[in-house]
């Protein structure tokens, strides 16, 4: 049965008309098979033009539509909408780009008209094979899994919980708050960090919509956007968190003393412990590796002391399954391992600290905290602060983390308050002080804190060694002079790196990492918090080093994205441009299942049937072009449609 095709040609005022002979193009179109009408119009995207197309469709009972106009990138959506309004399925439309790809680029009107004829012919031949397509709908779960209970994860969880969603917050440590829990003060306002974040941490515990899993990690992931099934593994705490009141009597009687990893190994803790005074949840947990109960000694000191019977040595690993619609990865950062940059002497020479260690020493809530002392117990007289340790250095980490300068300046400021008579020297190559507050923060410190700022020439000239019980620092100053200075304490500001679990999570969720090892943003500028895989979001330092304020911005952005896509009672709308597999033609080779970038093709080996997950499929067509049996149809870009287009262009 002949199909009635309507051809509309936009003159785009003079943009197309001046370069292409419209009359020639009209008579050419009218000679093609099944073309019922071919009409020019001054501006098809104007209100009059839209009416003109709509009337053309209804009056001529058009079944298919070809519009020769500007790029589909400009007005495909406009014309699809017009087709739908006139009762025509929008996928029965083909746009021919005779403006950007013909009229504007071909100097000779005759040649441009000939090229436009070929393009128009290809569109008409193609549209013959177009099929009406409808968007699919899929049920969705509006609940969310958040991995990492640092400031980014917590802010995301609280924001989403307010939207009446169940949020499952998974944290590998027994406490929440992440690195922010270490800080005494935050820059640039120098607010008390604990005062600022403590209400947030408590809200996590109190909010009925937030389900916190401490000492836990994500074990496996199944499903897709809107419908993920996640298995969480919870490691035993050996203390019942619902009865423990956090009195700490158990720690008092515990005979074991080990290095405390929460204070970067600076302080000490017991085998049963609460990491910090302000730890949330304020519950004890037992470190099985060091606890004597699990050794041959069968120590029961804590059990005998606990008034609440909270200690349970029988506690074991648990697997919890949750169903969610989206996943937020907010796994934060760790510091560049300074032992990899030998020139700084870190780990080899005493009294050389990383900035994070000093944060802990300065923190009044950590058992070891309060005053920075030389390890023999005396106060430091000469202190060096060194910027960019291992960063902006092609040998180690090339990028600038952007926040370490401010962090080190903050440390200088806090040290000055603690040690009013010490000599503090700050060695830098460049200072990174962007934004509306940072420069003023620096100016203030420079004017008031009596810190000697010394600009050095480069990383390579700086060498730290031990000389006569003091730390010697050799460097080349900005004019090239070699100099040596002596210090009691050296504080290094290392780069921020992705946290340890990043690679494992990338594999688990099938998302990519960037060249620096951070999670890749789907589109760094326009969609910075979405991973390339739909339904997976990244917030905070897991995607790039950033200050706390930016991590909160990320958290709110993620929350906004999720709130606007996964909506209670609404179905997910899925574009119909996806692949479909014909079971009759499929030869069970399973090549496509491995090629699909989204893992959208599933092969059921018991029924010998392949299937495409409509939510996961993005319609790229890689499977269709790789199927040796021609069993895969890529909707709207089928073999027949593309072949017809080629024939039309060359005819």
């Amino acid at each position: 049965m002949p199909e009635t095709i309507g051809v509309f040609i936009c003159e785009c005022v003079s943009n197309i008309k001046d370069s292409i002979d419209i009359d020639d193009l009209i008579s050419f179109a009218l000679n093609l098979e099944d073309v019922a009408i071919a009409k020019p119009f001054n501006v098809l995207c104007s209100d009059e033009g839209k009416e003109f197309i709509k009337n053309g469709i209804t009056e001529n009972k058009l079944k298919r539509l070809v519009i020769a106009a500007c790029s589909p990138k400009e007005h495909e959506a406009t014309f699809k909408k017009i087709a739908a309004e006139a009762g025509l399925n929008p996928f029965l439309l083909q746009i021919i780009n005779i403006r950007e790809q013909c009229a504007w680029t071909t100097s000779n009107k005759h040649l441009a008209t000939k090229k436009a004829e070929r393009m128009l012919s290809s569109g008409i031949k193609r549209v013959h094979f177009h099929e009406p397509l409808e968007a699919y709908e899929s049920d969705c779960n509006t609940d969310v899994l958040v991995i990492g209970a640092g400031i980014a994860g917590i802010s995301t969880a609280i924001s989403l919980a307010k939207k009446n969603r169940q949020v499952y917050l998974v944290e590998k440590q027994p406490v929440i708050g992440g690195k922010a829990a270490y800080y005494e003060k935050v820059f640039p306002s120098m607010e008390c960090c604990s005062c600022m974040i403590q209400p947030l941490l408590n809200e996590v515990l109190e909010n009925e919509n937030i389900h916190l899993f401490t000492c836990s990690k994500v074990e496996s992931v199944k499903g897709y956007f809107g419908n993920f099934n996640i298995r969480i593994k919870s490691f035993p705490r050996f203390v019942n968190p619902s009865t423990c009141i956090g009195c700490g009597r158990c720690s008092d009687v515990c005979p074991v003393i080990v290095k405390d990893e929460y204070s970067e190994g600076i302080g000490a803790r017991n085998a049963i412990y609460i990491p910090t005074l302000t730890a949330v949840p304020h519950k004890a947990s037992i470190d099985k590796k060091n606890c004597l109960h699990f050794s041959e000694q069968l120590c029961n000191a804590c059990v005998d002391t606990c008034h609440f019977g909270s200690i349970n040595f029988e506690d074991s690993e648990k697997i919890i399954e949750v169903n969610v619609g989206a996943v937020v990865i907010a796994t934060g950062f760790e510091l560049f391992d300074l032992k990899n940059a030998m020139q700084y002497g870190y780990g080899a020479i005493e009294n050389i600290f990383s900035s994070l260690e000093v944060e802990i020493l300065l923190n009044s809530t950590v058992p070891s905290g309060r005053i920075v002392l030389i390890k023999d117990g005396s106060q430091a007289k000469d202190i060096a602060l060194i910027h960019c340790a291992g960063s902006r250095d092609k040998k180690h980490i090339e990028y600038c983390s952007g926040i370490c300068c401010m962090n080190l300046l903050k440390i200088g400021h806090l040290l000055r308050k603690q040690l009013p008579h010490a000599c503090i020297s700050d060695f830098y190559i460049d200072l990174c002080l962007p934004g509306k507050e940072y420069q003023a923060f620096f100016n203030n410190i420079k004017e008031n804190d009596r810190i000697d700022f010394i600009r050095i020439k480069n990383h390579d000239s700086l060498v730290i060694s031990k000389e006569n019980n003091r730390i010697s620092l050799k460097y080349q100053d900005i004019v090239g002079e070699y100099r040596t200075a002596f210090f009691d304490i050296v504080i290094l500001a290392p780069a921020l790196k992705p946290s340890k679990d990043t690679l494992r999570l990338a594999r688990l969720f099938d998302i990519t990492l960037d060249r620096n090892g951070f999670f890749n943003e789907g589109y760094p500028i326009l969609s910075p918090v979405s991973a390339a895989r739909e339904g997976i979001y990244i917030a905070g330092c897991a995607r790039s080093p950033m200050a706390m304020a930016s991590a909160v911005v990320d958290a709110l952005a993620v929350s906004g994205r999720i709130s606007s896509t996964l909506i209670h009672g609404k179905k997910l709308k899925i574009e119909p441009l996806i692949a479909e597999i014909s079971n009759d033609l499929c030869s069970d080779c399973k090549i496509c299942t491995g090629l699909c970038p989204y893992g959208a093709i599933d092969y059921n080996s018991s029924t010998k049937t392949p299937s495409v997950n409509k939510v996961l499929c993005q319609g790229c067509g890689i499977c269709a072009s790789s199927c040796p049996s021609g069993a895969i149809i890529c909707r709207h870009y089928t073999d027949r449609q593309i072949n017809a287009e080629i024939t039309g262009l060359l005819g």
């Binding site: 790029s71 589909p72 990138k73 780009n97 403006r99 950007e100 790809q101 013909c102 504007w104 680029t105 071909t106 100097s107 000779n108 040649l111 441009a112 000939k114 090229k115 070929r118 393009m119 290809s122 990519t512 390339a532 441009l577 090629l595 970038p597 993005q618 319609g619 790229c620 067509g621 890689i622 269709a624 072009s625 790789s626 890529c634 870009y637 073999d639 593309i642 072949n643 287009e645 080629i646 024939t647 262009l649 060359l650 005819g651």
Partner: protein, 142 residues
Amino acid sequence: MDLFEPKIIGFLCNWCSYEGVDSAGRSQMTYPHNFLPVKVMCSGRIDTQFILKAFSEGADGVIVFGCHLGECHYKDGNYHMMRRFALLKKLLSELAIKEERIQLEWISANEKDKFVMIISQMVEKIRGFGPLKISTKSNQHR
């Protein structure tokens, strides 16, 4: 004698390369009319059969444009095309078609100058080769 005007089918992925060619248009840069565009969602969608079809229907050259490696909208579609392309070159030589008649290029949305340079050079190159003569049914009809 009239100058030989080759017909060159150009496959464009919907993302970087289609935008790149559009941006040449928006800048009103002139390039040879011989370039006849076919849009697909991803360069990974381009079946070798489409390219063979183009030659059998009278194309004198085929050029495939995709996003730069590592910038594919669908993660790695352009890598699939690159692998397929290497095999296709071998196949073409067995069909006695000069492998230089096909070309694979990566262009980003703002590389309009690069696109114009590539397509201009390709037209000149194919012009030098002359029309493709292959014995197919559609060829015999003409």
